[in-house]
Assembly symmetry: C2
Homo-oligomer: 387 residues x 2
């Protein structure tokens, strides 16, 4: 998708720059709506949520948010009272530059934990923010929030006269529990606050909360949506469908770009007792390091899927005699595979998208989750991250 072809929601401006947080890449993004917005958001459940998350949660409760500032390459987490003051100073500086109230600003951060922001670099940039604000360039904004991401993640949809656009970054410390670090949606649709909130939570639960790169939940996960109403009202069901569609596009982009990943995994569990059990079993499979390494090496070791199902023993109703497992359309259990079938399975595993389907044979519960393989690249990226 080229930047020129992008439909844009009306009334948004962006500022994207490098202020030298870590290196020469873009690390500062401000998204501003010229009109007042209705907003919704979900955040990490981590007990070590940083000041950016705490402050945004507080400001979201106020409503009428009009600006999102995102700083990448430093999460400003576990930095004590100083880190809290730094976050408040940044929000105050943004508010002053945009001539809005500090409560109307939302802030998000991502990067290393336990280091203070270089405020001496950030303060002068805030003072000159107005000169950096231009007609929205969301492709640049998607680049500006990247850390170990290799590609920017952006998706867009039309809903009636309105446009809905989302950007996201991933790709390590990713097993979101409410939202992923970070994803922002902008739309010019007109929607009531309560409706937007309900739609947003439902969609996040079916998309970003079904994603796991490495089982590690970030301290900074933040998902936000701003709706400025400039395109007028839209059909709510169509809006929810479009939001789910672009959320899943972003989720798959993150899974594909998971740290060190070479393949995307999609795991569907059907006929579980309920959706919760289906999701727990699907997550156990997509998170199993043995399933992930087998996918990486295209090793037709399907028994590891059975192992991962077997360790979900909380409810004692999973019965091996009722379970079936398939890779794509190829059943591997209870069917016993001969040498020819194992060779065929190896071919299926060389694809860059591996689909695993499990039936528990119990009832109608169902869930699909996304993840990626585990490679030596993940080990390398994360053994060298801060040094």
């Amino acid at each position: 998708m080229t930047e020129h072809a992008l439909p844009q929601p009306k009334g948004f401006l962006t500022a994207v720059s490098n202020i030298g947080i870590k290196d020469e890449t873009e690390d500062f993004v401000c998204i501003y709506s010229e009109a007042p917005c209705v907003s919704a958001g979900v955040f990490t459940q981590s007990r070590f949520a940083g000041p950016s998350v705490l402050l945004s949660r507080e400001h979201l409760a106020h409503g009428n948010n009009r600006a999102i500032v995102a700083i990448s390459k430093n999460a400003n987490v576990a930095t004590g009272a100083e880190g809290e003051r730094d976050a408040r100073d940044i929000v105050a500086g943004i508010a002053q530059a945009l001539a809005i109230s500090p409560e109307h600003v939302l802030i998000a951060s991502t990067g290393v934990i336990g280091r203070r922001y270089p405020m001496e670099k950030i303060r002068p940039h805030l003072a000159s923010l107005r000169t950096h604000l231009h007609a929205a360039d969301f492709a640049a904004a998607a680049r500006g929030i990247m850390t170990t991401d290799l590609v920017p993640k952006l998706a867009v949809a039309r809903v009636g006269d309105a446009v809905l656009l989302g950007i996201a970054k991933g790709v390590g410390m990713i097993e979101p529990n409410m939202a992923t670090l970070l994803t922002f949606f902008m739309t010019d649709a007109a929607i009531e606050r309560e409706q937007l909130d309900a739609v947003f939570r439902r969609v996040m639960d079916k998309s970003f909360n079904c994603l796991s790169v490495d089982t590690d939940t970030s301290t900074s996960d933040t998902a936000l949506i701003l709706a400025n109403g400039l395109a007028g009202p839209v059909d709510l069901a169509a809006f929810e469908a479009a939001l789910l569609d672009i959320s899943l596009q972003l989720v798959k982009k993150i899974a594909r770009d998971g740290e060190g990943a070479t393949k995307m995994l999609e795991v569907t569990v059907e006929h579980a007792r309920d959706d919760r059990q289906a999701k727990r079993v699907a997550k156990a499979i997509v998170n199993s390091p043995l399933v992930k390494t087998a996918a990486h090496g295209a090793d037709p070791n399907w028994g590891r899927v059975v192992m991962a199902i077997g360790k979900c023993d909380d409810e004692l109703d999973i019965d091996p005699a009722k379970v079936s497992v398939a890779f794509g359309d190829m059943e591997v259990y209870p069917r016993q595979l001969g040498e020819a079938a194992l060779a065929e399975l190896k071919t299926v595993l060389t694809r860059d998208e591996i689909v695993i389907r499990v039936s528990l044979g119990l009832a109608e519960g169902r869930a699909t989750v996304w993840g990626c393989d585990l490679s030596a690249g993940y080990v390398k990226i994360n053994g060298e991250y801060t040094t």
Copy 2:
């Protein structure tokens, strides 16, 4: 420890051989007590537990077990009714060769899931078992149960006049939930069955159940103890202390030999609300792929420990203001580290044993768990396992 220096419990014989399950290495171990034994055991909680586990659980309930047969390189799991019949045939063959009842035989298996045993190779071996049984060679038995292990794991202690000896294997698919695949203890101490069972469960819970190489719980975990009483009664508290001591020795040997591991991790969480919370937080740290890769690369990225604590949010009583984190004796949080301290931490992380200590500042709950770093070697071993 040389084989000659090993004290041996009286009255045990062993047979260790290669019967060609997968390659030329030893894959068949039989341990036999000339005298009747008191026994105890714990097994995997996996819903996909294989016929070896199911059969041993049944035979352990009978009591009076006198023989353990262990087959490595094939787990005989998810092999349907044929796999069940194969396991019963092996036990019957062993019983016939030793002139004991089939219920007196315990069986354990480890290796690839979803492949049938080569019964045409196993049957003739069982028929000639008597000729392979010799004075106990537990070092050979420890080698015979290895799969991806690089070193055999054996520990021994004296308790009064008795000797207590344990062997173990297991270096991948290891987050035991009741026991690890596989560990066997032999003693000539005389102990009542109920007492042995209680002692064994307490010790397994504090040792093997505190170990995780890769969060994947095997379908075949089996821990067994045979006590033939030939050395007479012992002090029970001394016996329990010795059993814990050699269990922890075996656990640390497994952690150090974790697939692809170059370092052992030991994580202690203190001042938790209770021991359960302490263990959950300690496991979250030792299992975090980001903590494991940072340990591997000696990256002083201590913030990942804070992240792992933060994702344990089930009870909402962990308060960042009360938490402290140290690597060895070096506090990293809440203290904020400068460049010199980060360099010092990097040195600490180059050691081959990394000790992480966390205080939650809540109450007196406490747990220690063991694990290992995550390396490209793990990815390589498990991307190529069956092929």
